[in-house]
């Protein structure tokens, strides 16, 4: 059964004449890595923001475990069911890496007893040592911030992980490490990983590749 299903999803920006997304149908399953590719302005990030519950489609429906996102509490959906890795990280810059992640866990209502220990372990898993974890995000490199972003997305153990150009700001080695983490999350931990990207390296690890063109989603590669 699909974790996430898009049925005839359309989207048009307020006041704009052009429809960005035109009747998109797709299904996303647990344990798989999906990549969505397309030209700049094709609507990749818009689709991602709809899936992430940050915006609402103007037509059609997005179903999470069979429930329409329009009818459920989208704050709770964002807090508990999905983890978003933003291209520009979107971390609290004056807080430390640890504080960012603990805050995310608190918002999701995590029942983890020792949140701090759990956070250090999680950061360790994505390659952030204890010293770096206690530094303000503002003082971390782009790669480190991206790792913190990934750790934050995983902190509340969501079913779906969405990543918007997760390797866009990273060097080749770091990008490879990040992709390894994401594929492991899908294949070993059974998460549904959806990655929006331009990168061929990223599409090479995908189980399914979707292309977006002229507002429509087309299956490019299907394992």
């Amino acid at each position: 059964m699909s974790v996430l299903a898009l049925k005839n999803v359309t989207y048009k920006y307020e006041g704009a004449s052009k429809t960005v997304l035109k009747g998109i149908d797709a299904e996303f399953k647990a344990g798989k890595v999906y990549t969505i590719v397309g030209k700049s302005g094709a609507g990749k990030s818009t689709l991602l923001s709809l899936i992430a519950g940050l915006d609402v489609s103007t037509g059609g429906e997005i179903l999470y475990s069979g429930e329409n996102l329009k009818t459920i509490n989208r704050d709770d959906y964002r807090a508990k069911s999905i983890g978003v890795i933003f291209q520009s990280f979107n971390l609290l810059l004056t807080a430390t890496a640890v504080e960012n992640i603990i805050l995310s866990m608190n918002i999701s209502g995590s029942r983890e007893k020792d949140k701090k220990a759990y956070t250090y372990a999680l950061l360790q898993k994505v390659g952030i040592d204890r010293e770096t974890a206690d530094r303000k995000v503002l003082k971390l490199s782009g790669g480190e911030q991206q790792r913190v972003g990934i750790a934050r997305a995983l902190s509340h153990d969501p079913d779906i992980i969405i990543a918007d150009e997760p390797t866009g700001n990273l060097d080749r080695d770091t990008a490879a490490e990040i992709l390894k983490i994401l594929t492991s999350l899908a294949h070993n931990d059974g998460k549904c990983v959806i990655i929006v990207t331009h990168s061929r390296n990223v599409t090479s690890v995908a189980d399914e590749i979707w292309g977006i063109s002229d507002g429509k989603l087309i299956s490019v590669k299907h394992h």
């Binding site: 940050l54 704050d75 508990k80 979107n90 504080e99 805050l103 918002i107 999701s108 934050r152």
Partner: protein, 481 residues
Amino acid sequence: MYILQNAFRNVLRNKGRNALIGTIIFVIIVSTVVALMINNTTGNIIDDYKSRFASVVSIVPNMDRMREEAMKNSEGGRVRVQAPIIPSEQYMEFGNSEYLYNAVYRASTAINCDDIKAIDTDLGGQPMQGTVFVNGEAIVPTSFMFSLQGNKFEDFKEGLRDLAEGRMPESLNECIISSDLAELNGISVGDTFSFTSEIVFKGSSSMTDNQIFETRYELTVVGIYYDATNEYTMGGRKNAYTNRRNEILTTYETVIVPFVPDHNGITVSATYYVENPDMISAFAEELYAKGLSPIFDVKTDESSYNKIIGPVEGLRSISITFMIIVLIFGGVIIALLSSIAIRERKYEIGVLRAMGMKKHKVAFGLWSEMLIITCLCLVIGLSIGTLVAQPVTNVLLAQQIEAAQSAVSTPGMAGGMMMASAGTMSTSPSVTPLSEIDILLGMNTVLQIIGIALLLATFAALISISRITKYEPIKILMERN
């Protein structure tokens, strides 16, 4: 709980911005503490003086109206200016008013006793009536040696009289006497004596059909007091009756037992206390309607009140005006600062909302931050405000007194004042304005300051909250990106 923890951290994370907002709130709180302390302390002083000066009713003859009346009634060019007498029954009637919270009556009459010898008997007594005609014949008026005073105990409060033995009279027919009178006659507590008095009914026109009724008081001595008052009032006639050692003190109710309206012999006087000084006009209307001669003015002692309290009221007015100005300007500055601060924090709000934090929790977090800053300012502001309040008050009060003195130093404005209570007239000593006020931080003031501080924090937070709730997280993040 995590929202509060995050709020605490945010206060420390953004030191510069919060220090700026904190400074403004601190200035507002210090100013408010000083203003409220002055306002509340002066308010209490004013209320106290109002109850002491402005609530006692004075019924005073108006000299201009007395002259006018005398001119009208003059015979053969001779003008006799004389204040009319307020009859005893009118004093009693005036006391039945809904405007009064209290009416204190006193009564007196002249008495004689066959079994007691008065002090200064050799100087003789005093007739209380003029020539009285009964059945057309002039009779020799009775000369009285003692006065029976009902409810005349103010000398005990002033320390001029003090109970030597026994107790004060409480019930009907109980009295106390001076130790001099007791020693002269060998009187002890518990002795009972019979006193006689006279009530005269004056005839209608011919003045020849007067009637004299003898009345009797059976009084038991329940106490003996030391008397340090002057035996004779200055300039008064000296005889046994006017000697104050011969005053028999009893209750008002005892004296008026034989009282009959429209009869002479028992004199009643009263002091009235209006519930609120603002009711004086309505009370005056009522008195005139009940038959008080229009020659009398009915008023409270406003001049003493104004002279003593005027500078304090000026100080209070300044403090309140100052507080309102500070609150308005401070509020505007805080609104602007909050507005600018929230623009800076738009990205942070967007991140929190993207993580799934609900709007009301974001709002609560912002409010908590403002509350933490305000509480900190409140503690420091209260301490510093309390220290500063007294010197500020001293300076402001000195300026007010100086201003008041320069205002009254014009010719004809200075000097003492006449003060008259119902039934008696006296000249009060020259009053001086309050020159010192001990400013205190009462619980009421603390609660008011906490209330204002909470309102400030809420106001500042509301400015921020009203702005952030207009944005969706995606819009905030897109703007940033």
